[in-house]
Symmetry: C2
Subunit: 97 residues, 2 copies
DNA sequence: TGATTATATAAGCAAATCATTATATAGTTA
DNA sequence: TAACTATATAATGATTTGCTTATATAATCA
């Protein structure tokens, strides 16, 4: 249902995660560092996003990279384009923590 | 905050209400009839939408009409345009119940 | 004025939500 | 293999949410 997808966007942490993933694929530890929250918290939000089909995961060694999967959800893309870019603030993030 | 606005869209009842108001201004009793829920429930959802500035109210006699107020929120409009139209199903709604 | 209609507000409750802490799983490295 | 790192899952608890029932407010009508 459509409302369920918006419910996912209605949380500051998840909305920020999606805005980050709009810039590039990220591993869990990148998200943890940037969001300044616990690793389980990030993992649980990621699971919700994955269950809703909004993100994909791809293992790379011991890291798991998450990326946006919204090509079939144009309105989600529109929404994310209205969020101020986080590119600048993400510069310090090093992959493979 | 942006997430708070999406939180409002993340509820089936409210999302339907907004989709209805996209068609035209409606009084509370129209919403109650269409949504098949209680009048206080509708009033409380309307208050949230009003507090967030998504709808306006206008009294007309003993009725209060609510209308969309999203001219300054383009992404909300985009979202509502992706919701299947309710126009057909709203044909039987008589104003001023 | 008193009854009726439309709407709002308050109180209460079950269910959902978000975070935390503890633990499990899986890959890597020494 | 043992220790370490990255991530997931489980258990728990405080807070929020959505709805119901009861009551209040405001406009209309007889």
């Amino acid at each position: 249902m459509m409302a369920d997808q918006f419910k996912l966007l209605g949380d500051k942490t998840r909305l920020t995660m999606l805005a980050m993933l709009k810039e590039r694929a990220l591993c869990v530890c990148d998200l943890v560092e940037f969001l300044e929250t616990s690793q389980p918290n990030v993992s649980q939000h990621l699971r919700k996003l994955k269950d809703a089909g909004l993100v994909n995961e791809m293992r790379k060694g011991q890291w798991i990279y998450y990326s946006l999967n919204i090509d079939d959800k144009p309105y989600i893309g529109t929404i994310l384009n209205h969020i101020p870019s986080l590119k600048e603030k993400m510069i310090n993030l090093k992959n493979d923590c």
